[in-house]
């Protein structure tokens, strides 16, 4: 569905997107992750034809984004960040206007507007002025707009930005439903959203791809080089050097201390498990032990690991 080849965008001397290549297959639900300023929105703007790439190219649904820009835009349903809408229009009027500029007319237009109003739960709001809608409903109008012409690809830029937990849940459920029938690309930095909805993740930072895989594969790859949490009464000046001498232990740091109980995080090499050796050490040194467990890595750990600046 998307085939990006060496996409690059520079603004003067600043490179916002640097040699980005990735593919998204039909039916994929892709999470496009990155910290603020990573180049997510610039990449999306290039894909949607709003910005021309400085170098490289991409095709969407088989259409070249530069040579066949109009066809590409027809194949995309795009909801930009902050969902800009015409506040003085009513919901149905706005969707009808958007349907018309996307090439719909007559009975088909009426059917599609009615269908997206139903799909996005806007029935009660159809005659309301957009200015009077809550943020959650504005988001729904934005989604309905992106869907009105039945695009093959849906691109959503920060779809749950600024919503309360109930609204987030509503939008997330809606996206899940939409993803059953079409390819969806979601740009976000809310990782739980991606874990719940996406079958593929692309992580970018400073304009470059850091990882592109299924979420579980990314988590497994980090888990292999994961960490062990130890809670003992051994003091840090004794425990940290002793633990550091165990085979495969890369780094030991104190996490917290309370009522003589100290919690340590022990980073270990990939594909190793030092828990047995740590427990033996505790026995040998007669350290009181309260817990010893391996932490389960999350997508958030992968994200932090790949994008942290220190």
């Amino acid at each position: 569905m998307i085939n990006a080849q060496n996409l690059t965008k520079t603004f003067g001397s600043r490179t916002a997107v640097d040699d980005l290549s990735f593919t998204v297959d039909k039916g994929d639900v892709v999470g496009f992750l990155g910290p603020n300023g990573a180049g997510k929105t610039t990449t999306i703007r290039m894909l949607t034809g709003y910005l021309p790439p400085t170098r490289g190219t991409a095709s969407i649904a088989g259409f070249d984004i530069q040579k066949e820009s109009k066809e590409t835009r027809r194949a995309i349903g795009y909801m930009p960040e902050s969902v800009p809408l015409y506040d003085d229009m009513r919901v149905t009027e706005y969707l009808t206007f958007r349907g018309k500029i996307k090439g719909l007319s007559g009975r088909r237009l009426k059917e599609r507007v009615a269908a997206v109003i139903e799909l996005c739960g806007l029935g009660e709001m159809r005659k309301r002025i957009i200015k009077a809608l809550s943020k959650g409903y504005r988001q729904r109008v934005g989604l309905a707009d992106a869907l009105v012409h039945e695009p093959e690809l849906l691109i959503l830029d920060e779809p749950t930005n600024g919503l309360d937990p109930n609204q987030i849940r509503g939008i997330r459920t809606l996206i899940k439903d939409l993803a059953k029938e079409r390819t969806v690309m979601i740009s976000t930095h809310i990782l739980s959203e991606v874990e719940m909805t996406c079958n593929k993740v692309i992580i970018i930072d400073r304009g470059r791809i850091k990882a592109a895989d299924r979420p579980e594969n990314l988590v497994n790859s980090l888990r292999a080089a994961g960490s062990v949490i130890l809670e003992t009464q051994a003091a840090p000046d004794i425990a940290i050097p002793s633990l550091g001498q165990i085979e495969h232990v890369k780094k030991v740091r104190e996490l917290s201390s309370s009522n003589n109980w100290n919690q340590y995080e022990i980073l270990v090499d990939a594909d190793t498990d030092a828990r047995e050796k740590i427990s033996k050490l505790c026995l040998e040194k007669s350290w009181d032990l309260r817990s010893l467990h391996r932490t389960d890595a999350t997508l958030e750990d992968v994200f932090v690991e790949l994008t942290r600046r220190d």
């Binding site: 603004f11 703007r45 949607t48 034809g49 709003y50 910005l51 021309p52 109009k70 835009r73 027809r74 995309i76 795009y78 930009p80 902050s82 800009p84 809408l85 015409y86 506040d87 003085d88 206007f97 958007r98 018309k100 500029i101 996307k102 090439g103 707009d145």
Partner: protein, 248 residues
Amino acid sequence: MLAPLIKKEFRSFTRSPLGWVLFSYTILMEGICLSTAMKSLADTPLSENLVYVTFHTPNFWFFFLFLFPLITMRSFAEEEKSGTLECLLTTPVETSHLVWSKFLARVAFYTLLWIPGIVVFLSFGWITDLPTPFILEILVSSHLFLFVLGIYFISLGNFASCLTSNQIIAGIITIGFLIIQYFLGFVTVIWGSQFVAAEFFTLFSAQAHLTNACRGILDTAPLILYGLLTAFTLLLTHHAVNYRRWKR
């Protein structure tokens, strides 16, 4: 593609207070100009017709020039500020569609603003029970000239609006453009018409052309000039919209 965009633009006037304020402002100012002209005609017998005197009252250019920043300042500036420009240009809408729709909708609205004034002129004889102090050709030529001048000023206002995301600044830039244009007409008045470029400045003098049009002389040279300038400004607007979004 163009029709829904024009409709949307035009309706942004009819559904907003600004559109109705502009309509009232134009009717009020035209009324003031006309009543000033009628008072002049009542005080002293004049050699010029009523249309001429109405469009040469001190208020006329003041109100006329201030009309255009108000009509055009929101056109691109508001779309850019609210982010709806991105929404439009990521659909099959092209930049040229946007430029034309914003221009044509404003030309339609501007044309509508003159209708009450024309009706008042046409009903003058019926209301006052006096012989109409102008001939129909003069009413047509003066309003045709104001129409052509207006579409040029609208294109300038739209251009100013695409240069910024702040509609107040857009309005100030527009009034700046129009004041420069207005004072070009005074160059030959100040320096005389004996220097080399005098003819060029005369060609740019909207005041002189309006004077001629109000006497029933409709010169095609300024109409062609304003038509060409309008086309050039629209082209410039098209490039400026693309340049501003591509450099972002």
